[in-house]
Symmetry: C2
Subunit: 357 residues, 2 copies
């Protein structure tokens, strides 16, 4: 077992100085043909590779991106990671993943763990608990330390940073519009509690679409589901809630659900009580995951393009990291660093499947 070889060892072995080795390996023409050749051959033989940690320390940049997300066993988030990793890798960066599990404390711990030199910047989506608490001091702190953050999906206006968001509002408008155009007259909304901003935006989109079509919103047709329960009991609870809801409102002929699970469950309940999809009731869900594609009938969804979100976020972050390099040299007067944060809105796309006519 031969440990990784270092410049020092090569130098000792070849009886030259460390800097000669360094220069020879980087192809500097300060060094003579002969020694360069000799050194490069030796290095190749022993498979020399510069130590990343040493480089990081010297260059004060690690070439790695920290991702901090609420959960990973989740189609949307893993898709985003996939997108991030893709461009990160292409641009020479690694990716380090931290999970908050929707917990405020774990989010903070993870941030501190990574912010101490391990990474050059963050790409993150805020945990539910943090959103509830509305305590964003840890974001401000790391930004103040000069570490850039790019937020995606669950973002918050209180923090100044680059953001990549889904066009939740218009996605919902499009979906509900489609239901209306396909003949639905009593469209139900299945949504979450308000504190997760995306849920709120999707609800607003639902209302907006109704208004544009001169349909009076009916609060009976809106079901707000408490999603704070954990998965074990959650599924049953969900089915019961939706079941009650459908029985109270037998006139429902269209459903817009703010996430895939609600949509799938709505279909399941509908089928159980004898409704035909899409003949009797049409369903559209936000978020295009595995379930939608494989449900029977397959589910029409609003796709968020998770991969694109990840790619854009990574590009945004890396662009900022690499532009910072130049900053100290440039004396642009209007650099205006406070307000030129970018907010990318990723358009949604409706994927039509069998649950709509």
């Amino acid at each position: 077992m031969k440990r990784k070889i270092t410049l020092k060892q090569i130098a000792r072995e070849l009886e030259v100085s460390i800097s000669t080795v360094s220069k020879a390996l980087s192809g500097s023409k300060e060094i003579s043909e002969d020694t360069t050749q000799k050194i490069q051959a030796f290095a190749k033989l022993y498979n020399y590779r510069p130590n990343n940690i040493a480089l990081s320390l010297k260059n004060r940049k690690t070439k790695t991106i920290g991702i901090l997300i609420p959960e990973i066993v989740h189609h949307f988030f893993s898709t985003v990671i996939f997108g991030i990793e893709r461009v990160a890798n292409k641009r020479g960066y690694n990716v380090i993943v931290g999970l908050s599990n929707e917990s405020f404390t774990k989010e903070i711990i993870n941030m501190e763990m990574l912010a101490n030199g391990s990474i050059d910047g963050f790409i993150l989506s805020i945990s539910k608990e943090t959103l509830l608490k509305q305590d964003y001091h840890h974001f401000h702190a790391t930004i103040n330390q000069g570490m850039p953050i790019v937020m995606f999906d669950r973002v918050v206006s209180e923090v100044d940073c680059d953001k990549v968001i889904v066009d939740d509002f218009n996605g919902a408008v499009k979906a509900v519009n489609m239901l209306i155009n396909k003949g639905c007259e009593n469209i139900a909304l299945l949504t979450t509690m308000d504190y997760v901003s995306v849920g709120r935006l999707r609800t607003q989109g639902y209302l907006e679409a109704l208004e544009r079509n001169n349909i009076e919103p009916n609060s009976d047709l809106i079901l707000k589901i408490n999603d704070s329960l954990n998965s074990a009991d959650h599924l049953e609870f969900l089915e019961n809630e939706i079941n009650k809801f459908f029985e109270l409102n037998p006139n429902i002929d269209g459903v817009f659900a703010v996430n895939e699970l609600y949509a799938i469950t709505a279909m399941k309940v509908a089928k159980k009580i004898g409704l035909k999809i899409p003949e009797d009731i049409q369903v559209i869900g936000f978020t295009d995951g595995v379930l939608s594609k494989h449900a029977t009938p397959t589910l029409t969804t609003v796709s968020q393009h998770g991969q694109r979100i990840g790619e854009q976020a990574a590009n945004l972050l890396i662009d900022r990291l690499e532009s910072e390099d130049v900053e100290p040299d440039s004396f642009i007067v209007n650099s205006n660093p406070k307000s030129d944060f970018i907010k990318l809105v990723i358009e949604t796309e409706i994927i039509e499947r069998e649950s709509t006519k």
Copy 2:
């Protein structure tokens, strides 16, 4: 924007030496009460945290684990990551993720990228292409460099390292046994091509169960599906294959599928051609993912306990990393480092749902 503060800056500010600051902060009692207090207060005020990179360089360990997997948008793998992250975090480690996308080359590039000091050890699952090529030199190389590897799920006997695997063989036996006990007489096997070892093991389990029950295996009832196509066309292809298969073998009353997708698709096709589940045909799939839980009918599956796999793998790796620290001091004669690699077999568990009687 105040950059992260360093020992040097504290020292300068307080007009003491760097080493005094270092000692004071680590609570050494070499330093007087007074200065210790003063320094600690100052450090707290400026929120001093030691720089991880510098520590890594000094200690020659990064306290981070490299995960290298074929894909991340995949329930099983993300579950494993979840498990790894959990124990890694608990034990003070970070987790850096690389994706091979089932590509041999990307696997190598990622390994080399991470092996140059960025991590202390690997947890990985081998890409399909690598398994096909049977070229494992990169694993040997990194192990030879003194970097431990723990493989999970897709492992290979040619590489000497710790392994955590699913009991694919017995899982399959259990599943097929269950089908037999529930009255199935013509059990079909839906499997992949042979080169992915887990597929082969599950196939062997299927055969074993038949044999134990004195049932003559019938090659007509085994469908090997070419899964090298990409997802776009794959689904349709899959449905067609299974459809043809079912039509050729109308006597099938039980299906064991080596993965969730095949099982779900089999159910879909069965329903389409008018078979009732589980009355006419019962189905069990390997891998317990989201689809199984939400399909109609819900699918009986063989759960692999992905999270536990991840946890065990992480514990194995960290145990090895932290035992290495002691090694140089201990002069145990029978240390026998070559052959004491651990192979953990995680038992599967059948989760009964509606697709079986």
